[in-house]
């Protein structure tokens, strides 16, 4: 009896929802390449070719600009499903959407960025970001480099310790001081273009590599970035506003969603392990079954936390006052710290359930890549720093 060709059958139709399209790509394109992306620490090129073909890079762009008009709830669900199959694809997708969200919210009233939204749709541009800087480290709310503008032209040079997928990106959003005289905290966000139609405007000189424990396919190398362009490429809103209303909540929600995807897949592998063990010895409960019951509970907790944060953000999405409050910033910081801690605990528990079969890379119960990626959640964006910021805010916030 011939087995049906599942992959061919489930090719997404034109009418498929964005989540259905992403699910198809996650299973049929991202998952088969996930191991080689990780081993070779290479950009998940095949996933992004498929995501582009499906129009998913501009999913957040409103329909009136030709995009899919997705909300953060939709994008979070996509990050979750991508994270279940290839965490690198999910992380790059999340980071790209954080940039798109900033342009959609903070650039809509500027002709240059309205045009860019059309380009995001027609050319499916991939956006990266350069927010950290050598000598200020992870403090993204202060810059050393500054925009130098003359006669409507701008120049900018930044020493960036990390620009994830900088070489593959078509454009990079860069934080910098507004002018060479501005305070370190008076920042703007500048679009540095490097797509084919703007060749030569931006150069990246690599200063550090990315041979890391996990998230190896994000290619998070260090660079000296130099760019020139028009003054119109500065987003009109200040970075403090962009950060608190859009980048911070989008980052913490989308990252948490893809970590949830990693945790979900690890638990699914542990479930499969226990089920197969139960089949081998009918009538007995396998030794790891209790641990599985425990970890499924933890996964539910994590899912509930992510979903409730998304609901809160959606509820006050257009309330600038609420989004710039200390209470909201704390809420998002807590989500980040909690979910990045839970993902490690959950994957560790899955590893304990699957045992040596989980420890090895070449079994269907393997969670070794999951665990290496999970550790990145609390390290790549330091939980120490996030907790430090929360601790300071808690000095003035008296009640919850």
């Amino acid at each position: 009896m011939a087995l049906p060709n599942i992959a061919a059958q489930s090719t997404p139709k034109e009418t498929a929802t964005p989540l259905e399209r992403a699910t198809w790509i996650a299973r049929n394109v991202a998952a088969p390449a996930a191991s080689s992306v990780d081993r070779e620490a290479r950009f998940p090129a095949e996933s992004f070719a498929a995501l582009r073909d499906a129009g998913l890079l501009s999913a957040l762009v409103p329909r009136r600009f030709g995009g899919l008009g997705c909300s953060i709830t939709d994008i979070a669900a996509i990050c979750d499903v991508l994270g279940q199959h290839c965490a690198n694809t999910a992380m790059v997708y999340a980071m790209h959407q954080i940039q798109v969200a900033s342009i959609v919210r903070h650039g809509q009233h500027a002709p240059y960025f309205r045009e860019l939204m059309h380009e995001l749709v027609t050319r499916q541009l991939l956006l990266a970001s350069a927010t950290t800087e050598v000598s200020v480290g992870g403090d993204v709310r202060s810059s050393v480099c500054a925009v130098e503008a003359h006669d409507g032209e701008l120049r900018l040079r930044k020493q960036a310790p990390v620009i994830s997928y900088g070489e593959q990106a078509d454009a990079i959003l860069v934080t910098a001081r507004r002018t060479p005289e501005s305070a370190a905290s008076d920042q703007v966000l500048v679009l540095a273009r490097k797509d084919s139609e703007h060749a030569g405007e931006t150069t990246l000189e690599r200063t550090g590599g990315w041979d890391a424990l996990g998230f190896r396919g994000t290619c998070s190398c260090g660079y000296v970035l130099e760019t020139r362009g028009s003054a119109a490429q500065i987003l009109p809103d200040g970075y403090d506003d962009i950060s608190s209303r859009t980048m911070l909540p989008f980052s913490h929600i989308l990252w948490s969603s893809l970590w949830l995807g990693i945790a979900t897949d690890a638990v699914n592998r542990a479930r499969a392990f226990i089920r197969d063990a139960a089949r081998k010895k009918p009538g007995t409960t396998p030794p790891g079954a209790m641990r599985l019951a425990e970890v499924v509970g933890q996964l539910q907790t994590m899912r509930a936390q992510v979903q409730s944060a998304i609901r809160d953000y959606e509820a006050s999405y257009d309330d600038a006052d609420a989004l710039t409050s200390i209470g909201f910033a704390l809420r998002m910081n807590n989500l980040k710290v909690q979910s990045s801690t839970l993902v490690v605990q959950i994957v560790q528990q899955a590893l304990a359930i699957c045992g040596i079969a989980g420890y090895k890379a070449d079994t269907k119960y393997s969670v070794e890549r999951h665990l290496r990626d999970a550790y990145g959640a609390g390290i790549m964006i330091s939980n120490e720093r996030v907790l430090g910021a929360s601790a300071s805010m808690l000095l003035v916030l008296r009640d919850d």
């Binding site: 709310r141 202060s142 507004r178 501005s182 305070a183 370190a184 905290s185 008076d186 200040g238 403090d240 608190s244 006052d321 609420a322 710039t324 409050s325 200390i326 209470g327 910021a389 300071s392 805010m393 000095l395 003035v396 916030l397 008296r398 009640d399």
Partner: protein, 86 residues
Amino acid sequence: MIQDIRSIVHEHARLNVDIAKLADDASLYQAGMTSHASVNLMLALEDAFDVEFPERLLRRRTFESIASIAAALDELLASDRGASAA
């Protein structure tokens, strides 16, 4: 009150411009106040004016400028007076 606020801002907001040259409605954030410094500023204001900022006032806009701080304090002090008169 404005003078008191100015001296507290001078001491705690860690601006990188001369506060004497800063207008009442100029952005303190653009003048170099970080979110960490803004927390210290809030604590110092609470201490000096013997008030507590309720959660609804703990937002960016409240501490945007010397004028916005004065408006928030006016409101808090007025409601305090109202409460003690009652």
